[in-house]
Symmetry: C2
Subunit: 125 residues, 2 copies
């Protein structure tokens, strides 16, 4: 930072002011996003930051019934079943998807309003 340069032994320089580059710009008065809030919000975007997860959300959303099971998600993504399960878990933990198990199958659907809320995070940065 150094607002003023070293005037250590050159005290007579003080009359030669304004050395000063002052500051390059006005620092913001308003408090920025806290580290904690930032960390929390980043979790949502981390979940969205993978192309395969975006496609998963897209497929689930596009489905007639608004839900899809893992078996229908594995093929279009060309990924192994464990990998798809892993991505789904991340989306659930991010609060974007919810999981409902019926019989042998697990159905995933969008959490209502979750995407809108995520979008809202960007508006209120």
């Amino acid at each position: 930072m150094s607002i003023y340069v070293h005037n250590g032994f050159m005290n007579s320089l003080q009359t030669l002011e304004p050395v000063v580059e002052a500051s390059c710009c006005v620092p913001s008065a308003k408090p920025a996003m806290s580290a904690e809030v930032a960390q929390q919000r980043a979790l949502i975007f981390k979940a969205l930051a993978d192309p395969n997860r975006l496609r998963l959300l897209s497929i689930v959303k596009a489905g007639e019934s608004g839900e899809a099971c893992v078996c229908d998600l594995t093929e279009p993504l060309d990924l192994g079943q464990p990998t798809v399960s892993h991505h789904l878990k991340i989306l659930v933990e991010a609060g974007l998807l919810r999981r409902e198990k019926r019989g042998t199958w697990a159905y995933y659907s969008l959490v209502p309003g979750a995407l809108e809320q995520a979008a809202g995070l960007l508006a209120t940065l």
Copy 2:
């Protein structure tokens, strides 16, 4: 939803009705997001998927002048200058920030509409 559960009354059970594994659910008719589009969109969210970058955006946005230089961004994040430069570069490449060099300093400001556009990506999944 379940396609086959109660078929009227259970009288058909006598016939040992094909307990249909059929399919667990109807696959979506609509085409999902392509791999290419998904990859591109993920880039935006990757840029947003780091708490320090969210804070950078927040600080830049909060600034009186709508811009900030690196020297004002290093301290509040408690990160080294090279690291801040690195994050800023990622935000610029994602199309979220723009960089203008004036004299010795580099000023970063939000690309107008960029955040709104990113939010829009979520609405049109």
